[in-house]
Symmetry: C2
Subunit: 308 residues, 2 copies
């Protein structure tokens, strides 16, 4: 049996673009499934493609995760019932990465709990730049075979093709590693905003050697743009320092409430995101990042089967 | 240790009324927990009461279940983490009871899947009149200790106290058992609407011996009022036959979309529901139905522990 006969790629509603791209790259069958909501708010899921003895790849970005989990779970259980021998979850955005410890007694460590729930729902997982703050690797939270892929190379490509004379700027020292990584690959200058806090409302901000960068376009990058408060604050500081309007780049376009409107209201040149979460600001396609893992996990399973 | 020291009763948001009533009846501690939504749509759950070595009772009605499951799951995992030795779910309304088989190939049997998910989340379950259509008992779907309690006695009480000269009417032969059960307890007459279908739009409707009931108030009862289509149709038939305006009673006030407005628009005398789902139409309190199971499951666990 040829490789393309053995993988079937399903998209939860809203994930069709990446599913189509991945299906093309892998020459894999696009899975057909029906998703409906009953008038009482319950979900209906039907698998229409033959998945018997095949690897089912399920694309489901997990932003606003609460009402997405059950349809995903029902699809996966349906795929299992229909004989899929492996279910690989491609979650371009992975939820519940922030509460990775109990900061106060009694706090539910949702990062671990969600990890266990997903690990019991699918057989393997690949995701883009999850918010690994206090954890060294995703395997500390997810017990299934998993891989983290990074958007940095694609962001570098985008900057090179779209911005003349860029200067990458990290909003604080915490961001330095992430920004430095992208900057090094892009072979463009980077620096970190220096802040000296004199009081709650009195913060002195500077950019080291700013005179060198007055004709550069500042680039701000963050992994998740949610409330965008840090980014908006940084944009205002740069404006105050007389720099050119910034280009803002986010990996994950979460955009809570009025975040996009507020960010655009600062007069930035442009806001661009990866398509890990479908959004009007998407301009960097991350579909290709999943090809290797999806092919490989398939290979691993196949080898294991042959050894038995 | 006294019984009231060993049970702590928690309410998911919206379930406070039943939690308070149950806490009073059982003389049990009311559990304190914090529920919040982050701007990105993720949930935060914190257990504030001491549950170490105690039985935690969690009240969570599961109407519109998709965005309720994760907060419930996180609370239960948090309770487990904090040392609760037993988690009993009181789900006044239980979701995902309809899709209890694959009517078409590939349909995810959500009834079973949801049952397995809940069974792995809590240790025991009690619910009111679940929609057991093709299943003889809840234990076919839920592997944990469980009990179904019935609202019929409370509905009978309500009718006796609130309606003069009632006549219970079943909309079709499928409803007869349910209506007959309530009618017998209420010691009031009941009958079933007779329908002869001459074509898609041509249905002849009659009430046997209708002349005896022209001064009675027709009572319509259904377990779930969701779209209310059947009830509205029945109300119209009764009106066409010249009967008095009906009193409509539902156990579970699901009320999808405009169902309540449409039902009220038919000119019924009143619509009344049990409070298994919080709703403006609630007038029958079902809290007391859970007392026995919650006490008993606690006793069973205690006995088991003593035997070890």
């Amino acid at each position: 049996m040829k490789k393309k006969d053995r993988i079937v790629i399903f998209a939860l509603p809203g994930n069709e673009f990446i599913a189509n791209r991945l299906s093309e790259s892998l020459e894999a069958e696009k899975g057909q499934a029906e998703f409906r909501a009953f008038p009482d708010g319950e979900s209906y899921v039907r698998v229409l493609s033959d998945v018997s003895d095949k690897k089912a790849v399920v694309i489901c970005s997990l932003d606003k995760p609460n009402d997405k989990f059950l349809p995903l779970y029902f699809l996966c259980r349906g795929l299992e019932e229909m004989g899929a021998n492996n279910i690989c979850l491609v979650a371009p955005y992975l939820a519940y990465m922030r509460q990775d410890k109990a900061f106060n007694p009694g706090e539910s460590v949702t990062s671990e709990h969600f990890g266990e729930l997903i690990s019991s729902t699918v057989d393997s997982l690949v995701t883009v730049d999850p918010h690994l703050h206090r954890r060294a690797s995703l395997s500390e939270i997810y017990s299934i075979p998993n891989e983290v892929v990074h958007a940095a190379d694609l962001i570098f490509e985008w900057i090179t093709q779209n911005v003349e004379n860029p200067i990458l700027i990290g909003p604080d020292s915490e961001s330095e590693q992430w920004v430095a990584d992208v900057a090094q690959k892009a072979n463009i200058p980077f620096t970190v905003l220096q802040k000296i806090r004199h009081g709650d409302a009195d913060v002195e901000v500077s950019v080291p050697e700013i005179e060198k960068y007055m004709n550069h376009t500042p680039i701000l990058i963050d992994d998740i743009i949610s409330t965008a408060r840090t980014m908006i604050e940084t944009v205002r500081h740069l404006e105050g320092l007389g720099m050119k309007p910034a280009v803002c780049i986010g990996v994950h376009a979460v955009f809570a409430d009025d975040a996009l409107k507020d960010l655009l209201g600062t007069g930035i040149e442009r806001i661009v995101t990866c398509n890990s979460i479908p959004h009007t600001t998407n301009d960097i396609d991350i579909s290709e990042l999943f090809v290797d893992f999806v092919s490989r996990i398939e290979g691993v399973q196949q080898s294991a089967a042959l050894e038995q």
